[in-house]
Symmetry: D3
Subunit: 298 residues, 6 copies
Amino acid sequence: MTASSSSSSSYPRPYPTLNPPPSDFAVKLEAPGVLHVSLSRGKLNPWSHTMTLEMRRIFDTLATDPLVDVVVLSGEGRAFCAGLDVGSSQLADLASDEGEEPAQPDPARIAFGLKQHIDEFQASLTSMEKCMKPVISAVHGIVFGLGVDLMCATDIRYADEESRFCIKEVDIGLCADIGSLQRFPKIVGNDSIARELAMTAREFGSEEALRIGFLSKVTKGGREGAVAAALATAALLVTKSPVALRSTKQVMLHARDHSVAEGLDYVSTWNSAMLQSRDIPKAMAGALSKQKIRFSRL
Amino acid sequence: MTASSSSSSSYPRPYPTLNPPPSDFAVKLEAPGVLHVSLSRGKLNPWSHTMTLEMRRIFDTLATDPLVDVVVLSGEGRAFCAGLDVGSSQLADLASDEGEEPAQPDPARIAFGLKQHIDEFQASLTSMEKCMKPVISAVHGIVFGLGVDLMCATDIRYADEESRFCIKEVDIGLCADIGSLQRFPKIVGNDSIARELAMTAREFGSEEALRIGFLSKVTKGGREGAVAAALATAALLVTKSPVALRSTKQVMLHARDHSVAEGLDYVSTWNSAMLQSRDIPKAMAGALSKQKIRFSRL
Amino acid sequence: MTASSSSSSSYPRPYPTLNPPPSDFAVKLEAPGVLHVSLSRGKLNPWSHTMTLEMRRIFDTLATDPLVDVVVLSGEGRAFCAGLDVGSSQLADLASDEGEEPAQPDPARIAFGLKQHIDEFQASLTSMEKCMKPVISAVHGIVFGLGVDLMCATDIRYADEESRFCIKEVDIGLCADIGSLQRFPKIVGNDSIARELAMTAREFGSEEALRIGFLSKVTKGGREGAVAAALATAALLVTKSPVALRSTKQVMLHARDHSVAEGLDYVSTWNSAMLQSRDIPKAMAGALSKQKIRFSRL
Amino acid sequence: MTASSSSSSSYPRPYPTLNPPPSDFAVKLEAPGVLHVSLSRGKLNPWSHTMTLEMRRIFDTLATDPLVDVVVLSGEGRAFCAGLDVGSSQLADLASDEGEEPAQPDPARIAFGLKQHIDEFQASLTSMEKCMKPVISAVHGIVFGLGVDLMCATDIRYADEESRFCIKEVDIGLCADIGSLQRFPKIVGNDSIARELAMTAREFGSEEALRIGFLSKVTKGGREGAVAAALATAALLVTKSPVALRSTKQVMLHARDHSVAEGLDYVSTWNSAMLQSRDIPKAMAGALSKQKIRFSRL
Amino acid sequence: MTASSSSSSSYPRPYPTLNPPPSDFAVKLEAPGVLHVSLSRGKLNPWSHTMTLEMRRIFDTLATDPLVDVVVLSGEGRAFCAGLDVGSSQLADLASDEGEEPAQPDPARIAFGLKQHIDEFQASLTSMEKCMKPVISAVHGIVFGLGVDLMCATDIRYADEESRFCIKEVDIGLCADIGSLQRFPKIVGNDSIARELAMTAREFGSEEALRIGFLSKVTKGGREGAVAAALATAALLVTKSPVALRSTKQVMLHARDHSVAEGLDYVSTWNSAMLQSRDIPKAMAGALSKQKIRFSRL
Amino acid sequence: MTASSSSSSSYPRPYPTLNPPPSDFAVKLEAPGVLHVSLSRGKLNPWSHTMTLEMRRIFDTLATDPLVDVVVLSGEGRAFCAGLDVGSSQLADLASDEGEEPAQPDPARIAFGLKQHIDEFQASLTSMEKCMKPVISAVHGIVFGLGVDLMCATDIRYADEESRFCIKEVDIGLCADIGSLQRFPKIVGNDSIARELAMTAREFGSEEALRIGFLSKVTKGGREGAVAAALATAALLVTKSPVALRSTKQVMLHARDHSVAEGLDYVSTWNSAMLQSRDIPKAMAGALSKQKIRFSRL
């Protein structure tokens, strides 16, 4: 089935592949190949343990679903994400030993439980990075703590002009552990500003976020404006060869974490298969004829 | 002893833990938990071999001293640091073989001596990076050669608007070897500008330094202005949980030098202990009650 | 022979060391120690397989030639480089199995051929990075696809104000594999903008390229302006100690791909030999006497 | 519940946590804390795609199950595992494009499918490595191809004296891709013998496998002998502190893939939590009193 | 042309692809697909600078020559290789500055020359490792210094029972720099014995070399016996799919230098192309029918 | 002063450089250039915190002392080292929070203290690895826990035939954290046997230790025999060029922790200085004349 084969259908429409649908996310197909995943838990989308589990299920599902080429991530309500819902998270339980001798909690056993919990939490957000399909975050309002972690695991970041960002964790007595400290400095490419923001928990706005390279674009009109800009970019991306697009994401993720020499060896290995794609002559013919090409699903 | 237990004392006051006090640095407690380390060797603070030894002793001492939570680094006199004092350094001696057959210097034996000398020199500056407590550099005037190396090993960088920076080494016939070539590109996240500045030894001012991300803030009023801004940030940082603050520094240093996957595993291991801290419920309670929290010393 | 020993000769003049001269490049000595390598294949310099072979020969030759200290890379005609000349490249041939049983092409055998082809192509551009002598690219007009790969392998990048850049590969159905995806994000230090540009194949101009750190300087006056600026920087660089200059390039390339600790060990090993250079006392004496120094060839 | 709280129960007994039970594996608790996982698919246990899925489910389940401390892996029937069941695997399907234009299979799209398939397959076996609980393989008879991959992902390897091993893949026209080429050389610590065995597909017996370090022990009596030896070691391991045992596995896996310096930093971070365990005073008291200790479940 | 298509030709016969033939090596085709490269410089094959250049030319040539599938490396005369021919090497010249001011040699300029010389020397031997075709060394007599470096860069090592090995460099006042210190410990997998042998320059015989894993096989009958054993293994290897064989070498070299996780990702990328090979169904059909298969050249 | 200049002096004799002498070690010069460091704390040499501090001081001192070329490490009394002296170590104190609110110990603050303690402990043993001079351990009797850690940080390992080894930590409820889990698998090159020994805490004797490659030699005659063998090897090593010997240690340590390609680049950089040594012509002349050479001190 080609990307446009369902173009007569009305969009947006439900996303049939996820069954049962998640409870704290709204997921819908906005256009052929474009899936919109929205945090949908109250006005400020405080993150619950349920969301950790659901996010991983959503992205593991769409990763292999030929109906999806590009993903937009946003938050419903007044803000993208105000951070962790401390009450709903498992942290409080985990940080006390629920074993057989509760009177003497064992810090080692608690530590095993906490590490496993953090690893799962990280894996949930990393599922966005691993899915090989471009993910565009479109945020508005408060983007604190986990909200920043979420954005860091996406590929392209847009925000409404009135968004407010904060690497908040140090203010609740801990160091961020779901990805911001690892990814943010590599996104903005500036270890200096990253350290300052993480150590002071200072709020910063969209303009500064754009200037330091955390954002690619600042939009107007609140959530709607940000999402519209993301959907426009998504509409552009679905016209590209999916072989080329996913290869680019995979190869860039590899390059980020390796030396240039290792990255070059990896991409030449990768492309030894991919350069045999029929998409290349198709794309070249399209470029010559100035006609739009329909690439096969991948 | 809590951070504020000595709040009735007058500040600044001497730093009692270092004994004997260093000769080429002025070290004093500016506020509870805030240590101010100043280069203090003539007007331009040319760096001597004594300073290499003293800096390491200062930072190895404060690293484990519960009286210190945050460090400010500045230079007394007309400039932060004009570079290496070639006469006072050991380089000239080292570069000629002082062995038993001086008539035939052995380049290999000289090389062993030079490597050991450079390793020690690097270790002295790296002691700032390793101490786990945030270090804010506040500079003014000329910041050449070793002055840039010094700033690169701090976490947050402020400078007076009239500061002048230069990766000067190539102009005296050598490649910088005390950290600038390793850290500067990762601080500014721009390999291109880093190579140009290092190859041409071109001077650049505070405005450009801010724009490329070497500085977090440009201040007015000479040394006083820069130091005042640094002390203000230090005053903010000492209100944070020291568990959270030091964890953040340690984890970000690890992340800088590892892949994202390795960084995530490290922080989840780290936080398996740290999330058991009593600072977290304290900080959360403080956030709810809007009251200021006193964290225990670490 | 010292750098200025041929200063009475007229420049530019032919580069005698390359024999036979390449067919698709113009190579000349613009000044003592300064080699200018120009793409010279039609108006838009579409890249041919011949150029891959010739570029490697040029840079392997100049790497060990004491006549050359600095290199300027530009493109003759209307543009620096419009990308790969698909017809002239070997890709079409390689992507179909030319073995004994053409009726049933074997994707594995094709893959071996493609990997070898990409590896050779990469090695050609990497020869610029490996040559230890600073390479300054000075571009104008269209800089698409391979044009960006080429710039990424140089040390300093200047461009005319009307240049247009594009990481174009995704538009012809493939992921870039000659270095842009590996080097561009480390040059600009911003993984976010790099991913967006590579995924969308969006064109960007000189102003944006300067802002994100891909360029060090934007010039006026078309190709001439860009080349003049590059030659001016080259003229500055040839006055430096070649020991210091090449060491700086080598050490920064190592630092880019290693942790800070590994980089520090490498530079102290490197400098254990290089600090014994006679260039250092020469340079210091020159700095004191304010006289120009002539360093020996390296 | 302590490890011995169910000592009055009869063993072996079913493993209740897996529900529904897998179809191609027999899984039972052989003793308190000791789970025995047996390949159970015909006489030679040819590996099916179902087994890939079931193995991951088994190990993901037991990884967090406090009933399990140690795992024994064996094969029912005449052999541990004769390799991949080519008919039952998905490879044949995957290697031909099942897309919309079957007449022109696209090698790039096939490659995406194959990579995803191999990644899943690897993840299934890696689940043994990741589960933090020691896994002892006890094999007999033919151990070819995937059989070797399976053993490589376990911690301790025992085999009957008449076992026959072979890294067989090269004989069916491919290079092994489920872990043998990565793990075998690091297990035996001898790159030379590893390359010879992988390139020639030469069979080798238990004696040679012991000598080169692939096995820790050679047993007599066929499958029963090997399993009995493994269960005896498992019985020893369940008497150890689970904090110590799992820490040891985790830390050694990290050390295998990192430099000594990185490994040391990791274990000191790890043990900053684990040295707070109540198991340490318990174990010390036990050592002094020569009494057997019961450690709490983890 | 299939591997056996020239089976009616008489072997050994000259190797036509190398032109002109090297002066210090004898190179001949011993059987279809099997190239025998012999050091041929006097009785003890002392290594000359010419040999460095010729070896690289030989291996760069055969790397892409479809006539060659497997290589055997041996030494004519009384020994495989007694080490560097100090007189014929360039070291003596390089270690003194031949620049403009010979009275004052510059250790830094000498160092540049030496590094370039060592890099070239290393690259020559590394060409054996990089050629993707299995290389079997078959040695006899004295194997000292560079002789060990040479063997370390091959895949499989056989030796006559009376061979004598020595990592000799420390006895002539230097540390080995052409690969032994890097590869030997990873071949034998025993850092301890490697350090002892390198530090003491102690001779060791074939039996010990076999026991520590440096050799795969010890043969009788001097050079003839070792070469015959190597040719027998080569005869076996040429019956394998060249896709499988070369993939195995490439993937194992990658695995040696990376973590298991990185190695697994690399091989799944590699095999996403290679599993599409027609060799796999051919090999499987051959295995079922017990008939010998002819694979196409690669 | 050359190595033999004090040959008329009587040996063994005190080591004058260490002042004050350590309390729990006996340190003496056994021969010119050969320092013997013995654990000297009761019959079984249980390790105390004092020893951690003293060992670092000893090795930091000898690292730069021209009187010392080679070190032998042994234990006086009935055993090399029976492990940590739990009573004398700081662990018990550290594992409980000695802060202001002892009733509620903070696991996070305890963790900071523990990490710092382990880091210091590791650094003490790593000082043997870092000192660049070969260290030979010569052990007898019980070698448990820390005793194995100590041996792992030396270069060459000899043991009396009746020695008994054990990676004991798991039996006292913790995972070894002073180096065994990092170094032992790389010493024996066998991850399999390393995991089994670490997980089971099984004792093993000298014969097995020799077979798996942990030892280079097994001696007779108790402590005297082992020490005599080590001194004989030390006597051989002091006749070598110290430039060559220390280079070999440094380069092999680097190679152990890096890829072959990185190791090759490092050694060519290293030797670009070291090949300029006067020791090389001296050593060559000595080899020709069969005369003993005296190398200058380093």
